[in-house]
Symmetry: C2
Subunit: 345 residues, 2 copies
């Protein structure tokens, strides 16, 4: 399956997207792969496989690579003479954070009719904004922790300490703080508002169980093992960064089958139909026997490959079951009928 991995972007997670892409080059070695890099200025570059090292990007050496244009022939290699379309079966959207997970790249690919693995625009907008994720979860009957929505104009927080402060729209723990008192809260809000105009406050429940489950719907439901992530209160950005280069397979968490089944049922409600076409990871809490959705990662780090048995095979199956756009025929029926009413036809 000729796959173009699109990575980078104008995002706080630009660098971890590079790490994800380098990791997937290894994991998907059996595929004919192309690498499409989006730099911070949103230019597209076609990267040779042998240049897929983080230094090639951090040094700026990538600027000598061939440039691409995206149009309704797909990615096209710019050239003085005849531009040449990049020969791919499917695009894998691996841009974490802004551009990739907020729906921009999805919209570009949808607009130009390019087949891709990744969340569609509605799914992106609902999962990128944690406030909207709460609304969505409620609508499908999946629990989330109680929350407050805080803006710069209204910094009054009613939640008891300890609590967690999260910018509404970022991933990878950027701008997130666990807060134990009023002084910490003030600082944590300042930090969060550096990144976003909207902030979510949730209770911080020490010792809450956390479980991650990835999957997708292809010819049938495909679920990963359920992972219990590390016991630290939460991963800071640098630890998450290392996390994005994971490729060693994980063992199933020590979890009873009833809870596991409850997690998979919640995953199905979240995924279908909104996330069709994507391979997502849902991070859940379990507390007092209740399952809560913490967050939806519609483009998880290194595609959560380490949670699956035969990741390349799963990606191929998903690529054969991508949502198709509803075809709209424009036949100018109304204009014709109005013209003939006016005697102009």
């Amino acid at each position: 399956m000729k796959t173009a991995i699109v990575f980078g972007g104008s995002s706080y997670e630009h660098e971890i997207s590079i790490v994800s892409a380098v990791t997937l080059k290894k994991v998907l070695a059996s595929f004919p792969l192309s690498f499409v890099f989006i730099d911070a200025s949103r230019d597209f570059y076609l990267i040779d496989a042998e240049n897929m090292t983080s230094k090639y990007f951090s040094s700026g050496a990538y600027k000598k690579a061939k440039k691409l244009t995206l149009n309704n022939k797909g990615f096209v290699i710019d050239g003085l003479f005849k531009p040449k379309p990049l020969d791919v079966d499917v695009v894998l959207n691996l841009v974490h954070g802004r551009d990739g997970e907020d729906g921009k790249i999805a919209s570009l690919l949808d607009f130009y009719g390019v087949d891709y693995i990744g969340p569609r625009s509605e799914a992106s907008v609902l999962s990128y904004n944690k406030l909207y994720t709460k609304w969505f979860a409620r609508s499908i009957g999946v629990e989330t922790l109680p929350y407050e929505h805080i803006t710069k104009a209204n910094r009054n927080v009613a939640t008891d300490f300890p609590l967690i402060v999260k910018p509404a729209r970022l991933g990878s723990s950027i701008g997130v703080s666990v807060v134990h008192n009023a002084q910490e809260l003030d600082y944590a809000l300042d930090v969060a508002f550096e990144f976003d105009t909207d902030v979510i406050i949730e209770p911080f429940i020490d010792g809450i169980k956390e479980y991650n489950l990835a999957g997708c719907k292809a010819d049938e439901w495909i679920f990963s093992v359920i992972e219990e992530p590390g016991k630290e209160s939460f991963l800071d950005f640098e630890k998450k960064y290392m996390d994005f280069s994971r490729d060693a397979q994980v063992m199933q968490a020590d979890i009873d089958e009833t809870t596991a089944q409850t997690l998979r049922e919640a995953f199905k409600k979240i995924y279908d139909p909104l996330f069709c076409g994507a391979l997502i990871r849902c991070d859940f809490f379990v507390y007092d026997g209740t399952v809560y959705l913490n967050e939806i990662n519609p483009i998880p780090g290194s595609m959560a490959n380490y949670l699956f048995d035969d990741f390349p095979h799963i990606l191929s199956r998903l690529a054969r079951h991508l949502p198709k756009e509803h075809r709209i025929t424009v036949d100018y029926r109304y204009i014709h009928s109005i013209q003939s009413a006016k005697g102009k036809a």
Copy 2:
């Protein structure tokens, strides 16, 4: 203000977008205007002003116009030699329905850093899907009519007759039916599911008052007059089509100042900050003293120009107060620090 009007698109409202654009050519005659047409295949064409007639598009004559590419230089006129960027200060997104109102064009323009008047991606997704509009309205304390969300898998409707059936994602009354009995309901659902996978059912309240209010936030709040639309139960597509060519100014509805003020307050809650950058029209119901949001038109037909006193001036003011993207600097700090930890720097 050099303005490029973008219109057409792969949308059921492609034709009414042409009508809107032809109308705005007249209304904005004082501006230097360019016309960017998106055909049903999503090719961009630069249309000469003298060719801005509906027949030019319905006959296919537009195919001889110059083609454009959108990239991070904006709209660029394709040419055998040096491609030439289109010289504009601002783009006006006038694509009604899919592509324009679902966030695709917004994403393209945001991605490439083009200044535009129109709803941003989040605003588009929340207003394009009537179900999400309900969630959003609830979150800001604006009432909407009670509703049921119906899918093909679950066609059980509990709402009493008469009721109204609406595809969740379309505008301009496409696929909408008023239904008086079970037999009509079955047919109406079939029609609605032709257009969408999700359908909204609301009670149809005969004689409910309907008021439309347009506006935007520029240097200050700008509100249109409040219009009471025609008394027909609802406008069908052909009537709406004619409606999109309106340019004669409307009189304020016969409405008491308290209700008018309540409508403007609801408008403010809806608009700010989600719709900043757009000029929108909100359609409200008033029943038994309560104001209900019916729908948000983030790109109203002919931009609701007929509701304003000096429309070109208002558009110029809005163009000077467009939201700016948060700048993200990619400095490769993490990659550098990991490289130096590995002794590679």
